[in-house]
Subunit: 126 residues, 2 copies
DNA sequence: GTAATCGTTGACGTCAGCGTCAAGGTCAAG
DNA sequence: CTTGACCTTGACGCTGACGTCAACGATTAC
């Protein structure tokens, strides 16, 4: 399939696909007229990238997963490099959560100081 | 005082001060030679801005606080506009925390699926 | 032939909060 | 007089993941 169809099926822009290629995440063979030609496996790669991005991963983080898929594994996360990224990301997320909680507490304290009536409700903690 | 001294006392760069001025957050009167001249109150303004930024506020968010201080209030948060920003920010932070928690759960699930031995330890939740 | 719809590369724009030159003017000390 | 520390404005760089032209070629439909 060509870039437009892949973009539609992956729910992404053609610009993004060219960008991924430029970043070395995917490659496309070229037709005689210079058009990019993609396989079904490329769709899998792009889908993997997308799902990782939506979880907050960067393209750089996605590299091992893509490499894992291209190496023939059924899942992009079945390689040790991918698992390492998972673990690192988990730690990063935990860090962010901690700082956000600290900020939340600070802001809430400031708010109650500034406006004692405007107590933030305590019951809607998720 | 001039910009260098203010920067030192506020613990920020002169570039940042000029940037805040460019964004309309602070203003400086000019000496005969064109140098910026700051008062002690300007130090307060900058300090307020800094503490807000470190809590995750944007310069835009800081505007009402600065305006409040300039209006003569002892605290930048004693104006209704500032309180409104506090409340909005609190909601934003809660949103971010929620999405981060969701991501964390997703990543953790993926990790355990990919590597059943690498269970993320459950005891270090902050 | 021509219009519509695809594709190509290249390159600048976006968002925030500055960092980092560049190219100069000002001022006190020695 | 000169060094050196300070100040000025202006403008590009940076990070990430693309959006959005521009200017052009290819393919298909009619």
């Amino acid at each position: 399939m060509r870039i437009g169809e892949l973009a539609r099926r992956a729910g992404i822009s053609t610009r993004a696909l060219r960008y991924y290629e430029q970043q070395g995440l995917i490659t496309a063979r070229r037709a005689a007229n210079g058009y990019r030609e993609y396989s079904e496996e490329d769709l899998k790669l792009v889908t993997e990238i997308r799902s990782l991005l939506t979880v907050g991963f960067t393209l750089e983080d996605a590299r091992p997963f893509v490499a894992c898929l291209r190496a023939g594994h059924a899942s992009g996360s079945s390689c040790p490099e991918s698992v390492a990224v998972y673990r690192r990301k988990l730690a990063e997320i935990d860090d962010e959560i901690r700082t956000l909680l600290a900020r939340r507490a600070e802001v809430a304290a400031q708010l109650t100081t500034a406006c004692p009536g405007c107590l933030p409700r305590e019951q809607d903690k998720t």
